[in-house]
């Protein structure tokens, strides 16, 4: 059920990017899709009653091995690491998209994509 709500978020973003005519609204739709995908990937690695994948002093038995409690309750570190990368990249792509919007506004004086004639193929 949380997966379904997350997917609903993605669908609203997709609707916004497909139907709206304002360029900034399209960028916002793409951002919402990015959020929901990041959230979904982190949710896949979650386990109920788990702990963050950070090893504390109590989790180490003498000799440097980890306790079974930590191994059996840590959440998945791999999606978290990859989502960390994706979040930073989304900032770069947002900057690129917004700069395109600003340039288009300077040239045509509007964000309305139907009035930007020269973008027509």
């Amino acid at each position: 059920m949380p997966y379904a709500l997350c997917f609903l978020l993605f669908i609203i973003g997709l609707y916004c990017a497909v139907v709206k005519k304002n360029m900034v609204k399209i960028v916002i739709g793409i951002m919402v899709m990015e959020y929901s995908v990041n959230l979904f990937l982190v949710m896949l690695g979650f386990r109920t009653g788990g702990t963050a994948p950070i090893i504390g002093r109590d989790d180490i038995v003498t000799g440097g091995t980890l306790t079974e409690l930590f191994i059996n309750s840590s959440v998945d570190p791999l999606p978290q690491a990859l989502v960390l990368t994706a979040i930073v990249i989304s900032l770069g792509s947002l900057a690129l998209m917004i700069s395109i919007c600003i340039r288009t506004y300077e040239k045509y004086g509007t964000f309305d994509i139907t009035r930007i004639r020269r973008l027509k193929g």
Partner: protein, 192 residues
């Protein structure tokens, strides 16, 4: 104590997800661009809280920083520029077709999500030979990092981080090229 935390968690997840969905609907449907951008900020901070409750503190911190920067960029783009009045809708037929297609994707996606194991089960712990098992078991011993996420991004998958830095710099170069006032070629032969 443990039991109570577990039982408290699910309502928090549902509340945060519903908050994010409501903020998204407002952001999509409002006419004023500035309030739409502010709603994006609400979604981002909601996502950050959600990451915190999903036991991902590193992502929560990064999400807050990125969200603040992204809001500054978005407000720079929309402030005093939101005079775009969208007159008239798109062709009725096109809107209907896109809504139908989006709904079909939603229903198909719900069907697919039913095949996933229920929320809260550790998929990686039950899959034999999953890479994450190795990271959890041997991360401290092999890399010396107490934070397993750091050991993944900086050691096991360091090339991924290198690629991330490349993509980031490429996009920033693209943004500066687009935002530059006048290029040399335009000065010679002005665009009409």
């Amino acid at each position: 104590m443990m039991e109570r935390t577990v039982r408290m968690e699910m309502p928090i997840f549902y509340a945060l997800l519903l908050f994010m969905i409501i903020a998204t609907i407002i952001a999509v449907e409002t006419k004023n661009l500035l309030s739409s951008v502010i709603c994006i900020g609400a979604i981002g901070f909601g996502a950050s809280l959600m990451f915190l409750f999903l036991r991902a503190p590193d992502i929560a911190i990064t999400q807050i920083v990125v969200e603040v920067l992204g809001l500054v960029i978005l407000i720079r783009a929309t402030i005093s520029r939101d005079r775009t009045f969208i007159t008239g809708d798109r062709e009725f037929f096109g809107v209907v077709v896109s809504v139908v297609v989006v709904l079909v994707i939603f229903l198909a996606g719900i069907k697919v999500l039913e095949t996933l194991p229920p929320f809260g089960t550790a998929v990686f712990a039950e899959t034999a030979g999953a890479a994450s098992q190795t990271y959890v078991r041997e991360g401290l011993e092999k890399t010396g990092a107490a934070n397993l996420v750091a050991s993944v991004i900086l050691d096991y998958r360091a090339y991924d981080t290198l690629g991330e830095a490349t993509v980031l710099f490429t996009s920033i170069i693209g943004a500066t090229v687009i935002l530059r006032r006048k290029s040399r070629k335009l000065l010679e032969e002005p665009d009409i």
